[in-house]
């Protein structure tokens, strides 16, 4: 007798195949339809550093509440080729149902193989190109989500291609959907999904991490980007380029990263709100420029999408090993701000905040993300998209204007060239108040102090970490930063242990002085995607917090909920 297979409010569907086979297209169609239907969806993707071939996969999760994490478990695997099985073999369990074309994937060691002749549905509908549509439909049928949502989606997407294409796609969807439903019945697959009724649903955005950072930049009134492509940072450049007409953003693809950062600094000096986006290796080249920003007090926002290093490392994989890099980037001593969003909402807000802080404190503000975060897709409430008022702190200069005037708080009013009667001299050398180079030791002493003084005010308004599970009284605190918010939250939810609480940092530097009290007397565990525990070291250096446990991972993959749960059990 067959076992009934029941899936309740936590379903993991994975699409595996080669680059160019369309798994991204399938996943994003599925996610769109599910989101519109009122499900909580989350998707993340892992892919090789090549354009065609290889083995990639995308996970789509449907959950009872919003989740932002990767799970190791696969419930339904759509294998678009035989390699997908090999590639994902450690994740295929006896409970996994594998959908594949039997002609290509004859058998599976583990799990149940369902022959899903997806291409033939497409062919029946008129063209093998409709396979993606058919695949999405199979999944929807399996899940028991009404086909209507998909049909609407197809109408929209293919509107420009003519009615015939729309009709053919809908036909492919019908065939796939029917097959999915039949399979569910035959294999006694019972899926329970909490669907929010339409009227209760708050307005939601569906987006990925890249878009979230991009939207944040647009919301901040960013008017300038100069960057050089580098995965996974390129997306933000592409995003702003795509939106450049709508928002009148000047986009310059630089010849190299050194040019990118110096161009952005020139732009910012002249009054633009400027950002650069890159990854660790590209950022390493920008460090002299970061130091220039420090010396000249020219505001700058840097988005750094982390990937595994050193050197070229793994261009399309994920890691959180560039914290120390940004913390100490550039020679000499000068202040900076490091923000690391853990949710899409945070990415939108903190990217804006980065621009605000950069302008207010005349320094470099970092938005530190990673491949996992940037390439993840999920939904967030539209109400959270807040636009902070844009404060530029630019003054009209008078004849006596001096760019580096000494003031009590160390911040000199910022003038820009061509605005007012004064002139604006911006200098990479140590300089006097007018901006001319100086070798006066006393001026030097005061200028260093001036530049460093702002750290205090900055720290005072630093974001506090957020409790993401458990209560503040718990003796054990698990700390995560940046993209690990979701996996920590979900793991703690899973464990439901009163002695465990989670604390998520979205501002990594400087720390708010009140942070220390949150961690005082606690047994601290730090969870981070690197090999050495960089944030744990930072906690120790800045707050004298000793870390009892470090949960680290440096394979190039994100943490899965399962492994974090497992690791936390040991505490």
């Amino acid at each position: 007798m067959k076992n009934m297979r029941r899936y309740s409010n936590d379903i993991s569907i994975v699409f595996g195949g080669a680059a160019g086979q369309g798994i991204q297209t399938i996943a994003s169609a599925l996610v769109s339809v599910l989101k519109r239907t009122g499900c909580h969806v989350f998707a993340c993707t892992e892919f090789m550093s090549r354009v065609r071939g290889g083995s990639n996969s995308t996970q789509v999760r449907i959950t009872g509440r919003k989740r932002h994490a990767y799970v190791h478990r696969i419930d339904f695997l759509f294998a678009l080729n035989a390699d997908a099985l090999e590639h994902l073999k450690t994740r295929i369990a006896p409970t996994t149902i594998v959908f594949a074309d039997k002609s290509q994937v004859p058998s599976t060691d583990e799990g149940l193989l369902v022959d899903a002749p997806i291409t033939s549905f497409a062919r029946q509908a008129g063209n093998p190109i409709y396979s993606n549509t058919a695949a999405v439909a199979v999944a929807l049928g399996l899940l028991g989500i009404p086909q209507e949502g998909l049909d609407n989606y197809l109408r929209e997407i293919f509107a420009g291609k003519g009615d015939a294409v729309v009709a053919d796609n809908i036909e492919a969807a019908r065939l796939g959907y029917a097959f999915g439903r039949q399979t569910a019945l035959r294999e006694e697959i019972e899926v329970e999904i909490a669907v929010e009724p339409e009227k209760n649903r708050p307005k939601e955005l569906l987006l990925d991490g890249t878009a979230a950072v991009g939207i944040g930049a647009v919301a901040a009134g960013c008017t300038f980007i100069s960057s050089y492509p580098m995965s996974p940072g390129t997306g933000v450049l592409t995003f702003l380029a795509q939106r450049s007409h709508e928002f009148n953003i000047v986009v310059d693809q630089a010849e190299d990263e050194i040019s990118a950062v110096n161009t952005a600094l020139g732009a910012s000096y002249a009054g633009a709100r400027a950002i650069v986006t890159t990854s660790g290796g590209g950022f390493a080249l920008m460090e002299e420029g970061i130091s220039l920003a420090g010396m000249t007090e020219v505001p700058l926002v840097v988005h750094l999408g982390q990937r595994p290093g050193p050197a070229t490392g793994m261009p399309t994989r994920t890691e959180q090993a560039d914290l120390n890099l940004v913390l100490h980037a550039g020679h000499g001593e000068f202040p900076r701000v490091i923000l690391a969003p853990g949710t899409f909402a945070e990415a939108i807000l903190l990217t804006q905040r980065a621009f605000q802080l950069a302008d207010r404190y005349q320094l470099t503000a970092f938005v530190l993300t990673d491949q996992f975060f940037l390439d993840s897709t999920g939904s967030m409430a539209a109400a959270v998209v807040k636009r902070e008022p844009i404060e530029r702190h630019i003054v009209e200069t008078d004849e006596e204007y001096m760019r580096y005037r000494f003031t009590p708080d160390g911040l000199s009013p910022r003038g820009v060239p061509g605005y007012g009667k004064g002139i604006v001299k911006c200098d990479s050398h140590e300089h006097d108040e007018t901006g001319h180079l100086t070798e006066n030791f006393e001026t030097r002493r005061r200028m260093v102090e001036k530049r460093l003084r702002r750290i205090k005010a900055l720290a005072a308004e630093s974001l506090m970490p957020e409790l993401v599970g458990g209560s503040a009284d718990a003796p054990n605190i698990v700390v995560a930063w940046g993209s690990n918010r979701g996996v920590l939250e979900e793991s703690l939810d899973t464990l439901q242990r009163a002695d465990l609480a989670g604390l998520h940092f979205s501002q990594l530097y400087p720390f708010n002085p009140s942070v220390a009290t949150l961690l005082k007397g606690k047994i601290v565990t730090v969870l981070e995607n690197n090999a050495s525990g960089q944030f744990a070291d930072l906690l120790h250096r800045e707050l004298a917090v000793s870390t009892a446990n470090r949960i680290l991972k440096w394979t190039g993959e994100p943490f899965s909920v399962e492994e974090v749960v497992e690791a936390l059990r040991e505490i």
């Binding site: 939601e204 009134g221 928002f247 000047v250 040019s259 161009t263 002249a270 002139i423």
Partner: protein, 289 residues
């Protein structure tokens, strides 16, 4: 030179600033030519930004009463680009030494020409690294001995004119700092030119370059004749690779190449004054809903 008078002093003068150059350095003359050109062109110093890198020549904007971005060694052109694209009403001049521009900054030199922004590049070409005390620069002549090049320079000298031509730069000139009046006129042409204007200026370094002195430049250069046609690219290349005697003047000039600001559709409003587009923002958010 139509010199500024006591009644009409040169607004670019900064009389009280102590200068860091050696007595007799060609940079003084070049600075004078530049100030003369700016004065005669009637440029508003508040709308002028002089961008430089690091080196002796790169100190120029420290001695000029105008906006200054004295950035990193080798990086004047990227900064100049950012400035120009953010406010095209500004007159932008990038100024640096041969090492700064063709050595550390070589890549930006290539790609700045490709972009063709409306700005002027003035290279203080003394064929040596002055500030760091006399090592070879990209334009040093073979055989010149230095503390590092103890057997003399071995590399083929970098030819800024030929490379600019190869990259299709629309305005290419060479001047000689010893000739203040001629240099001033060349700089005036360059600043007035609509597009990226390259001006390589021979500038004697009286301390570290004992080979390429004022006299050497006088003896080894000549001005292009009045009937020279700067529109002919092939002829310009022939001129650019001459080594017997080095031609001075505008070697190539092409009026028709569109400037990058126009291609990008940049308007006259500086980016700092741009209004936030609320409507577009709402529309964009809606697209994600």
């Amino acid at each position: 030179m139509k010199t500024p008078s006591p009644e009409k002093p040169n607004p670019f003068d900064m009389p009280h600033k102590e200068m860091g150059w050696c007595p007799g350095c060609g940079n003084y003359k070049l600075l004078d030519s530049l100030k003369g050109a700016l004065f005669e062109l009637g440029i508003d110093r508040r709308n002028l930004v002089v961008v430089s890198g690091i080196g002796q020549g790169a100190k120029t904007p420290q001695y000029l009463n105008a906006n200054m971005f004295n950035g990193l060694h080798g990086r004047s052109l990227p900064a100049a680009l950012g400035i120009k694209l953010s406010n095209r009403n500004l007159t932008v001049i990038a100024e640096s030494g041969d090492g700064c521009m063709y050595g550390e900054g070589g890549n930006h030199f290539l790609h700045a020409i490709r972009r063709n922004c409306d700005m002027t590049l003035i290279v203080h070409d003394n064929m040596v690294y002055g500030l760091t005390k006399g090592q070879a620069s990209p334009t040093s002549l073979p055989g010149m001995k230095t503390p590092v090049q103890i057997d003399g320079v071995m590399l083929e000298p970098f030819n800024p004119l030929a490379v600019s031509l190869a990259l299709n730069a629309p305005f290419i000139a060479r001047a000689s700092a010893g000739d203040e009046e001629e240099t001033k006129e060349i700089i005036k042409q360059a600043i007035s030119f609509r597009g990226f204007a390259v001006v390589d200026v021979f500038q004697p370094c009286v301390v570290f370059n004992r080979l390429n002195t004022y006299q050497w430049f006088r003896e080894n250069t000549y001005y292009l004749p009045g009937d020279y046609d700067p529109a002919d690219r092939m002829q310009a290349f022939a001129k650019a690779v001459e080594t017997e005697k080095l031609p001075l003047g505008v070697i190539f000039r092409e009026e028709t190449r569109p400037v990058y600001e126009d291609l990008l559709g940049i308007g006259n409003t500086p980016l700092r004054s741009q209004e936030f587009r609320e409507k577009a923002f709402e529309k964009m958010i809606a697209e994600y809903c």
